[in-house]
């Protein structure tokens, strides 16, 4: 708007001053401006932002993971997610003028369904933990009982989010045991806890210890009427049997690894898939394929009667804004990488975690304490004290080695996470081994 238009527009409205537009705000609740600094030019802003950015230090070598991973992102993924007509669009309420976004989200729903072996996928949740929370609520709607079973070793943030999501329901959360030696679910303990009151069972693969727990495949034999909620790693599905093949009812995951930047924790992407018989009880937006009045194929948001803008207090979820643009990133990532690419990423991750175990055990700095196969997150029992470990890593400019008890409900001291991806190089593993070498038992 040009400032010369202002008086004319006010005149059209028979007003004298722009302040007259606010005459309906009673004097006792008025404020006079905002107590923040005055605006600055774009030039100054960019300088200021660069200066602040430089206060962050990116590690030269990183073994950080546990819910967020540095993976290779093809250049084309960043290109696609920055296309303005996707980036600056709103939720596609007006289908005819939003066919591009709708088709892309339909493709996303399809590709994640294929990846997980599940029937259907919604068009996105905020992140992995909130997807887990929504899954717990959906399990309650789809089954009977008042108990949600979770492993006694679980990520603290995932557990906290699930607790919040379930807090408003007349339910309790009970834990089942993870065997400390194998790092896998104690199936006998789980079986003893499953009864008619259990509406859902939460299981991670990889689990909170980072282990690809094949006991998860056997939950279907003992779950009874409970819904199996599987929390998986989408990259691992390049190598590992997908959730749809072992009786999973709801499959949820953190989708950050599918072409999304680390960005200090967000925006990420919640992947949410389920069996088709439960579609009307599912949360979130769904895109359906239909036809237009000429009979041509068309896409539209569908089954909206489950949603808050229609169903209000009886909606399946309160979600409105989701993570649609991140879903586009994941779709373009999986399309560009293809089956061969994803298998390679998965394979390289498996190889690197094995290499890391070999290297660290060789130095005597730590031991891999489980008879199991980890994926990205490798939990070591370190022979070094926490402070010695931190000092050695600090001196070598290596990030990683976060104490397990900070992140998961596993109180033991001396356990530390080192995580790998396909980008972890042999020289980085050597540098870590070198930094931790010479440790005494």
């Amino acid at each position: 708007m040009h400032s010369k238009d202002v008086p004319e527009m006010l005149n059209f409205l028979s007003l004298k001053d722009i302040g007259d537009l606010f005459s309906d705000i009673p004097p006792d609740v008025r404020v006079d401006g905002i107590n923040i600094p005055a605006g600055i030019s774009e030039e100054k802003l960019l300088d200021e932002a660069s200066a602040i950015a430089s206060l962050n230090r990116l590690p030269s070598i990183s073994f950080l993971g546990k819910g967020a991973y540095r993976r290779f992102i093809p250049s084309v993924v960043d290109h696609v997610s920055s296309i303005p007509q996707f980036q600056t669009a709103y939720t596609p309420y007006q289908a005819e003028i939003s066919q591009g976004m709708l088709q892309a989200l339909f493709e996303y729903q399809s590709v994640i369904s294929d990846l997980t072996g599940m029937d259907m996928t919604n068009s996105s949740m905020y992140d992995g933990p909130t997807a887990a929370g929504e899954a717990a609520r959906m399990a309650y709607r789809c089954s009977e009982g008042d108990t949600f079973l979770v492993p006694d070793i679980i990520d603290r943030n995932v557990l906290s989010v699930i607790q919040n999501y379930l807090h408003g329901l007349p339910v309790k959360i009970t834990s089942y045991m993870v065997d400390r030696k194998t790092g896998k679910i104690d199936l006998a303990d789980l079986a003893s806890k499953v009864d008619r009151n259990v509406f859902g069972i939460f299981a991670g693969i990889p689990n909170a210890l980072g282990i690809l727990d094949d006991n998860v495949f056997r939950i279907q034999e003992i779950k009874g009427n409970a819904m199996l909620v599987t929390y998986y790693d989408p990259i691992s599905l390049g190598a590992v049997k997908p959730p749809g093949e072992y009786g999973t009812d709801i499959a949820v995951a953190e989708g950050q690894q599918l072409g999304i930047h680390l960005a200090m924790g967000g925006p990420y992407l919640g992947l949410f898939s389920f069996r088709k018989e439960y579609v009307r009880k599912s949360p979130g937006r769904l895109i359906g394929k239909t036809t237009d009045s000429d009979g041509n194929p068309a896409y539209v948001m569908t089954l909206q009667t489950r949603e808050q803008h229609i169903r209000r207090d009886r909606a399946m979820s309160n979600i409105c804004t989701n993570q649609a643009l991140m879903a586009i990133s994941a779709l373009s990532y999986l399309s560009a990488m293809g089956s061969k690419g994803l298998r390679s990423v998965s394979a390289a991750t498996l190889k690197n975690s094995r290499k890391l175990i070999d290297a660290l055990e060789k130095t005597g700095a730590g031991k891999y304490p489980f008879n199991a196969i980890p994926f990205s997150d490798v939990l070591f029992k370190m022979h070094l004290s926490s402070s010695d470990l931190a000092a050695r890593l600090g001196e070598s400019g290596i990030s990683g080695g976060i104490p397990a008890r900070d992140l998961i409900t596993f109180p033991e001291e001396g356990y530390h996470f080192f995580s790998v991806t396909e980008l972890t190089g042999d020289e980085e593993i050597e540098a870590l081994a070198h930094a931790l070498g010479g440790a005494t038992r």
Binding site: Q103, S123, L169, T290, E422
Partner: protein, 474 residues
Amino acid sequence: MSFHQARYPERLVKEYSSDNSSFIEYTEIPEWFPDSMRRGSLNLPQIAEYDVVRHFTRLSEMNYSVDTGVYPLGSCTMKFNPKYADRIASIQEFSEVHPLSGEDNMQGSLRIMYELQEMLKSISQMDEVSLQPPAGAQGEFTGIMIIRKFFEVNGEGSIRNEILIPDSAHGTNPASSAMGGFKTVEIPSNGDGMVDLGALESALSERTAALMITNPNTLGIFDSQISEIARMVHSAGGFLYYDGANFNAILGKTAPGKMGFDITHFNLHKTFATPHGGGGPGAGPVGVVKKLKDFLPVPIVRKNMERYFLDSSLKNTIGKVAGFYGNFGILLRAWAYIRRNGSDGLCEITERAVLNTNYLAGKLSQKYRIPYAKIKKHEVVVSSEGTGKRALDIAKYLLDQGLHPPTIYFPLIVKEALMIEMTETVSREDLDLYAESMLKALEVSESEISEMPRNTAVRRVDEVKAARDQILRW
């Protein structure tokens, strides 16, 4: 303005094929990986980079956006998304920081978060802010959980189980309340489109946990009774929750804290111009008064001398409502927007947004009924009732003119509602054109308008068939 949508018979991404995948080096699954765990077939699309780009470019040309033109969806605040914010968000030292890097390695990001917390406190006049909720509805849910925890701690948890919500409220309000385990009680509007104080008085009781409202409301009306409402809710022992979806109407004019609210959420993707991504991501920070500070999600960013750190020691915290610290990439863009505009700029934004909407309302009032004859704030609801045209038909007519229609059939309390929010980033020429088109829509014959849209990539979409067929994947 007038957008011309492309029309491609664009095939699905899986119908492309290529054997070209050289983004990373090929690696075989190691032979030691057990067969019992191995995946059998995997059928992802396999598409060449040039076709990825062409596929998504063609799809994008069939999609309307703020970069394309005016996008006046009511309560959505679809303002222009300035490009400096994207540039800043793409600085590597921001975009590549791992959330578990440790405080020493992320002082820059923590400073951004701290400054944003402080600026949002000033804007809202709240005492403490959490940036963690990744969307507005999640901000509401966070506020609801804070209220619940507060009453649990003070021993009233089993008694205070009702949230009062006006009938003009956004659908997320009752949905978020129900998710938190509360019963919702609807409060009718009075003849002025404001809260009916008599109805509020009789609904308030020892069971009231909170009243959740937005001011101005979804009719674009500022409820001037707000001080009285606050007094009534507080004397019943409840909290007053501010739905911040309509914040663009009040920047620098009033503030939730000043109006007596105890909790407020912000929609950074609305008021502070972060791109909406075709549905998300957003960010929905929550601010609270002193009494509720200890209940916020953790961690909060604090500053000690010149060092920033994450504080998780809040005594009664509800814990986490998302995986890490919130949608940092969105928080950063909002920080940039607020820094760039500053106190003077933000006040002007509100003035211009309100002027634009009232100007449009003035033009439309020639032919459309505008319920509740008052000054509007950021948005206006007009009704096509009595014009012989349905709101849906008007929307389809606008599509054919290359204009994005308003929100239709909301709020529920106005028949044939068209809810229009003209933000500050619309020129007078575009306002005139939009008004002209909306007025012309009323003159088009019934038979002609029922055939619209004709100029879009597809014609009227069969929603009933979509719900019946449930084709949600290929």
